[in-house]
Symmetry: C2
Subunit: 639 residues, 2 copies
């Protein structure tokens, strides 16, 4: 099959201008309207000014509980000469009651003394006191609100009060979404053969469209067959205002979208100078805007925000909500290619008064980056990137108060960190962000005071002890506190029933055994290197010594899915994925806390969570853990 | 019937603490959970940490379009000595394709030159390059997110990718809302007899509950009969988690709520030291929190925000979204009673770099204040209020970017202002706030530079001309521009077929004729006083000379609803409400613009809107207007 590898590299602003211009030329922005019932109008947008159909109140009414009187007859009443009104000369009224024509004032109930049916008053009434006039709230023909007003709770109440039964509203734009790809399946399962991918993008894009006020017609998955995709587009286009084709936008052998669009309408552009999202396609079929969205979820989300969001709002006559921005400092060096606008998802945490931002995993295929992201840092075209510590502007994807109510842990990962995350969120609404960079990465983050705490399991080759010597060496001169979380079993994770017949570390030298390693600087890597040295096993002879994963679970998953045959890791990971395990040693997993970076309340929350029964019970339920030292302060440096 | 006028006056914080404490004691905050399908999980909140059920990708896959090779065979390939790979030694792959076990690297398609079925490469491959490892995105047993996470578009995609079919979610709290009141009707119409009120509060509260994440069971209106209300409560309470009774919370003769709650459960408090909202009731029936909401909509909204909102969020395990605050300057003196926390709805506009806030009409019955409100300014207990120009903190009810994209007009009202409002919103998304304070009020706002422009129709007794002499006198020394909007007919608005037999101003002296006047400082009042003086009619002899309304439409509505017999006003108002009209004079309605307060873009927008055909056509469709001078600059002072 033909490959079409020559796609453009158009700068973002040029693409936005070009797309906008063509849509204007083809009159694609015209706003469609429809008459709707007021009872169905919540969250809809008015298409024209709405005028009141009645006045409210429509009658003179009492503004108080009290008595209605003719003010003239109350003249002369004072505290020293009270006036007694006979039952015929007043009317008892509650707030909102109609005031008949013969009365022109209301006296508050608190100022009336009822004696034998007479109403005694001690003050003359002023004409029209405590009387609500007709139309005090709404007058017939008042403009309740102009065009392009969203009907919220108050607008809905005003419409009812003003007797408006129906109104002209903006028709919600309809977005047709067609997921394409022979490799796609609608639902994930344990039994998926290699090569299949769960189709989640169309669900994500649908939810985004709905947030932005559109209705979505989502089609079933279409395989990579040009004619079938053509047919799906033809069927969808008559029912929608915007058409979105998911994936197939790149230059792979099965990417038909651009060619089809060329045949069915007009390709406005194919290929953007942005990262991720380069292979995006923008076009028109008749008067219907067309967006070809790349297959990777992070790319799809970006392209959708850049092009679908403004379009969907424009078709509703309203401006998109402003995306708040925040000035941050980068915690890491962030190199960036000169030629593209480079959009980086980041986590943000406030440490010592500064908002620090940490880039999330860069891969466009990482759905979880979208879940974790607190914001997007765009490194503009023409920049080679940012140095650690540079100031930058982040477009927020999460409310600032949630971001500011977060702590971060950067270091080695253990399942106990996840359990702490859950407990802190549940009990205190405190968000714990974690980044898995291994124990040495944790040490360096502590040293730079960029993390509230770090998980460590660093073996001291000389003493055989854990963590203390590292912390003392690297954190000299700053306060810290080393607290044990768990002790845990390290060993070789192997497939069920040990098909490779592995019995000890020596077997890693067998050429058919594909090892999967942990990254440099991780506690497990340090442990492995120590063990290999002790047993005189040359690392370069191990098949896969250079293949690296960043967590225990990732190692286990690689073995589980036959991508490798064994790796050093913790028992809990083996058990989680129902794998076998050859125990090698027990190690100590501590967290090193920097108390000065915490508020007193958050430090207490962390400690309470670690000491809780729930934490202990959930750890023990996993297996492979020993809580003998858990929660104990191993050592502290209180400067 | 018995009146129960003694309600408490409890300070707000005390009430909040007391309510919270009793709910805690009765274990009302326990969070209910339910298992839901992932496909129904959008916008739901997790009740427990969600773990991945599968890894993604679950196979080793290509990260690029290209060819899969065994890295070892590529050794030695360089630009000067390219290597040709036979068709048996490589596999063509697209992004995401499975990499069979015999390969361990991918070479990008851009770096491959296909020649006669051979793949020529010019660089050796490094093992595992461009290969996505198993679980690069998600690993089985990874914690996808902790408890109390809202499932948004990205969480939904991650759940699908991670093979999670169902999850434990927080059950949405159910709020039972019972509207009570014999005077209430479900729908407004022109034929409502005096005393009837449209029931809109329950709709407003329902929409608020839904915004806050709850489900609402809204009952039909119940009349003010204690037993019928008791029955409605009994029927509702078993189906809901929170019970809300609308109105009947005060001390009128038909207010049964507190007494009923006393019998059925527990009154925690009745009566709050807040304005508005004093007669609120808080209590418990069994373990179900009970909120008795006052009948006035502004009170109902406030009490609901103070007590229902935190409760509904608490029952979902999440914190309510932060309400942003803004520092403003008060444009008006705002006196406030010492004994209450006084909540004032305000409009906010940015003028000369300052956010100025303008209090909206104070009545608790004014639904339109809720629609217009940009925020709430709370004047705390113990303060006698604010002086004009004081700094204050406003809790925003509208996004700041919308507030900041507003201009304001304070002065005399004319229907043409509404039409401008609509056109500016529709064409430019520019919000025009208007406050009707009459022409002299407009002059003073201009003088204080607190309004972008003002509508004026001020007759000069000496010259018979309009506006110029006033503007010259009061705005001496500052730049201004006087632009005509319309000329319009002023006259006596009278009921259809003139039942009072009014023929001229002299008839206002008839004792049976109830006049409805405009407020002091309004152009119409000045005109009236001029006309009365000219005809030697003593104002104090006119029945109703002291009854004041703030707009022409309000005068017309009063006459339409037989609350008065005549008033001076514009033809357009008489016609809008299908009333008769006795013409008296034609007057000139100009706007005085302060150009220095505008951005260049907004000034041009205003001028373009006034010059537009749409503006002229809509004005002429109303009738009683003359556009001879419309859009002309009458005079300008360009300092």
């Amino acid at each position: 099959m033909k490959r079409n590898i020559y796609i453009e590299n158009m700068p973002l602003e040029k693409a936005q201008t070009l797309f906008d211009q063509r849509l204007q030329e083809e009159n694609c922005y015209r706003i469609q309207t429809e008459e709707i019932e007021t009872t169905d109008s919540l969250n809809r947008i008015t298409a024209a000014a709405v005028l009141a159909r009645r006045s409210s109140p429509h009658y003179i009414s009492s503004a108080m509980d009290g008595i209605a009187v003719k003010a003239a007859i109350t003249a002369g009443a004072t505290e020293v000469s009270p006036l007694n009104l006979s039952r015929e000369s007043y009317l008892e009224v509650d707030t909102g009651d109609y005031i008949p024509l013969e009365y022109d004032a209301v006296i508050m109930i608190e100022e009336v003394n009822f004696i034998n049916g007479m109403a005694q008053i001690i003050k003359a009434a002023v004409p029209w006191q405590h009387i609500r006039s007709v139309g005090e709230d709404i007058v017939t023909y008042d403009m309740l609100f102009p065009a392009f007003t969203r009907i919220g709770p108050y607008e809905a109440a005003a419409l009812l009060t003003a007797g408006v039964r129906s109104l002209e509203a903006v028709k919600k734009p309809i977005v047709g979404i067609i997921p394409t790809g022979t490799e796609l399946v609608a639902q994930g399962s344990d039994e998926m053969p290699p090569g299949q991918i769960v189709e989640s993008n169309s669900h994500m894009l649908k939810a985004l469209c709905e947030e932005w006020g559109a209705i979505v017609k989502k089609q079933a998955i279409v395989i990579d067959d040009k004619e079938q995709i053509r047919q799906a587009i033809q069927e969808t286009i008559s029912q929608c205002d915007i058409i979105v084709v998911c994936s197939g936008s790149s230059a792979g052998r099965e990417d038909h979208t651009a060619a089809l669009l060329e045949e069915m309408g007009e390709v406005i552009l194919h290929g953007l100078a942005v990262r991720p999202g380069k292979p995006a396609i923008l076009g028109l079929i008749g008067q219907k805007p067309f967006i070809g969205v790349p297959g990777y979820p992070v790319s799809a989300d970006l392209i959708f925000h850049l092009f679908a969001r403004p379009l969907i709002y424009q078709l509703q006559g309203i401006a998109p909500p402003l995306i708040p921005e925040l000035e941050c400092r980068t915690a890491r060096k962030m190199p960036s290619p000169m030629g593209v606008d480079d959009f980086n998802h980041v986590n943000i945490v406030k440490i010592a008064g500064n908002h620090l931002c940490f880039p999330l995993a860069k891969g466009a295929g990482i759905t979880t980056s979208l879940v974790k992201s607190d914001g997007i840092l765009c490194i503009q075209r023409g920049s080679e990137g940012l140095q650690a510590g540079d100031n930058c502007i982040v477009s927020l994807r999460r409310p600032l108060n949630i971001i500011d109510n977060s702590i971060i842990t950067i270091g080695s990962h253990d399942l106990s960190i996840d359990i702490l995350t859950d407990i802190l969120q549940k009990r205190y609404g405190l968000r714990l962000i974690s980044a898995n960079v291994g124990s040495m990465g944790g040490i360096f983050s502590l040293r730079r005071k960029e993390t509230h705490f770090a998980g460590l399991h660093l073996l001291d080759y000389e003493t055989g002890g854990y963590n203390i010597s590292y912390v003392q060496k690297y954190l000299a001169g700053q306060p810290w506190m080393l607290v044990n979380l768990v002790k845990r079993e390290q060993g070789l994770i192997i497939p069920k029933n040990n098909p490779g017949g592995i019995t000890s570390l020596k077997d890693l030298l067998l050429p058919q055994i594909r090892y999967i390693n942990r990254q440099n600087g991780s506690g497990t890597r340090i442990l492995l290197d120590y063990l290999l040295e002790k047993e005189n096993i040359p690392p370069e002879k191990i098949n896969g010594y250079n293949r690296e994963e960043y967590t225990h679970l990732a190692v286990a998953a690689s073995i589980k899915n036959n991508a490798s045959d064994t790796g050093l890791g913790i028992y809990a990971s083996a058990r989680a994925l129902d794998l076998d395990f050859i125990p090698i040693t027990q190690e100590q997993y501590d967290i090193c806390i920097l108390p000065q970076l915490f508020t007193a309340a958050n430090l207490e929350r962390l400690q309470t969570a670690i000491a809780s029964d729930e934490f202990k019970e959930r750890i023990m339920a996993i297996g492979g853990y020993d809580l003998e030292l858990s929660g104990q302060i191993i050592m502290a440096n209180n400067i």
